[in-house]
């Protein structure tokens, strides 16, 4: 699946993204399972809140980490999240 740069993204309602104090990391929780996230993945997924698209996620992260040229990595991560059903595209009503 290819991702359009301007489609708003949100976490799938079947999952919950949460900080786990005991593990000192973010996790994605779903029926009877859990995915442990690294910091980068968590930073990207936290921005999938229904108000950001690929372009604005990249902008925000480039500001936050004072980085540039991260678009391909972010795109790759988001596309795989989309294919895994972790996030979904918000369809305009």
């Amino acid at each position: 699946m290819t991702l359009q740069s301007d489609t708003l993204l949100e976490i799938s309602p079947l999952l919950r993204l949460q900080w786990e104090e005991a593990q000192q990391r973010h996790v994605m929780l779903y029926p009877e399972g859990m995915i442990e996230l690294n910091d980068t993945a968590a930073a990207i997924l936290e921005l999938c809140d229904g108000t950001h698209n690929l372009t604005s996620i990249v902008e925000k992260l480039e500001q936050k980490y004072e980085a540039s040229g991260i678009e391909p990595d972010v795109r790759e991560m988001l596309e795989s999240a989309l294919n895994n059903g972790w996030i979904r595209e918000l369809v305009a009503q």
Partner: protein
């Protein structure tokens, strides 16, 4: 007190709270202990809340609410609300029997994350026979309501010789109900299932056929419905990595407060499982003899001790080893390297030869008392 000796031990991630042994159904494959009817009083609401808080503080994050039938606890919504507020992901594991829309909504408000409904068979007659209760239409309604109320819907079907020929219909039913996940749980032989093994264990050919059907259906529903397949360990060469290793990940609390490191650990001789009425969850997890008994590899005998695969399967299930060989320190006899492996092949042969008229023993209090005095 948490000493430094504890720092190398992993934390419980999964808490399975068996809230009650009451159940309106009578499934002959139930994994509850045979003597459940004679076990002690159920934990109170306040005791459960304390257990949930203590386990969460240790790092537990997935919470399974099961039983028995957890819906028979009138305080279920209160327990769910407490769990949600602590940050658990709460899974209700239910037969659906006794669930109506008002209660589904009430649980949603309390913060329940997910409901897993189990159906015995896609065919009314067989469903009702196996459940020992007329429940088929009601379960279908429950599955639809679960979906309508915005929960991820997990349908669970326990697979055995009485329904394995219905694999195609099971898959079609799950798809028609809009299940997000379908769990095809091949029966694990503990408790009542072990008692009824001759009537429940399918043949190798039946397994192969059913698995092929499920595999090809996986492709068809890709992206819409995830299919989990719990493998039939009797037909494997290697045992399951039971509980992901003893005392590493899973903590089960039985209705009477007994803390179990594995399904049937209550029955293991001399293990003396601790009770949350006597100790804190922290003491149980880190310090109890029972939870430490099979941690690591030091307890192993041959062939496991020198086996290069021991870090993969941890020697299999301690309860299954005990139930089949009589020695809980043996390799799980499912393993083809086990000197007791022939007992598993004999069990398969015995199921194969068993006459159809040997009756199933249903899981109910009358049978529980009759069997265990």
């Amino acid at each position: 007190m948490a000493g430094s000796e504890n720092s190398s031990l992993s934390k419980p991630r999964w808490l399975l709270a068996e809230l009650t042994y009451s159940c309106p159904l009578q499934c002959p494959y139930c994994s509850n202990p045979l003597d459940y009817a004679g076990l002690g009083n159920e934990l109170s609401t306040e005791e459960w809340k304390r257990v949930l808080s203590e386990a969460r503080a240790l790092g537990a994050v997935q919470l399974g609410l099961s039983g028995g039938e957890p819906l028979t606890r009138r305080d279920l919504a209160e327990i769910v609300a407490h769990a949600r507020q602590l940050g658990y992901y709460t899974n209700l594991i239910t037969s659906g029997y006794g669930l109506d829309e008002a209660r589904i909504a009430e649980l949603k408000t309390a913060g329940l994350d997910h409901i897993q409904v189990s159906i015995q068979s896609p065919e009314k007659l067989l469903n009702d026979k196996l459940a020992g209760t007329e429940s088929f239409e009601h379960k279908l309604d429950v599955a639809r309501w679960v979906k309508q109320h915005g929960y991820p819907m997990v349908l669970c079907v326990v697979i055995h010789r009485q329904n394995i020929h219905q694999m195609q219909q099971i898959l079609e039913m799950a798809e028609a109900l809009g299940a997000d996940y379908l769990e095809l749980a091949n029966t694990q032989y503990y408790g009542w299932a072990l008692l009824n093994r001759d009537q429940l264990l399918p043949t190798r050919e039946q397994f192969a056929e059913a698995e092929a059907i499920a595999q090809s259906y996986k492709e068809k529903v890709k992206g819409r419905m995830k299919i989990y397949y719990v493998v039939p360990d009797y037909y494997e060469d290697r045992p399951k990595a039971c509980m992901n290793g003893w005392g590493t990940t899973f903590l089960t609390i039985a209705p009477d407060g007994m803390a179990l490191p594995c399904h049937a650990a209550r029955e293991l001789p001399g293990l003396a499982c601790p009770n949350v009425r006597d100790s804190s969850v922290r003491e149980i997890w880190y310090e109890s003899a029972a939870f430490n008994r099979f941690r690591g590899y030091g307890w192993m005998k041959e062939p496991c001790r020198s086996c290069p695969e021991k870090e993969k399967d941890f020697g299999g299930c301690r309860c299954q080893a005990y139930l089949i060989t009589g020695d809980m320190t043996d390799a799980d006899p499912v393993c083809s390297k086990s000197p007791h492996h022939h007992r598993v092949t004999e069990a398969i042969a015995s199921a194969h030869d068993s006459t159809a008229d040997k009756p199933l023993v249903f899981r109910n209090s009358k049978n529980s008392k009759a069997l265990t005095g």
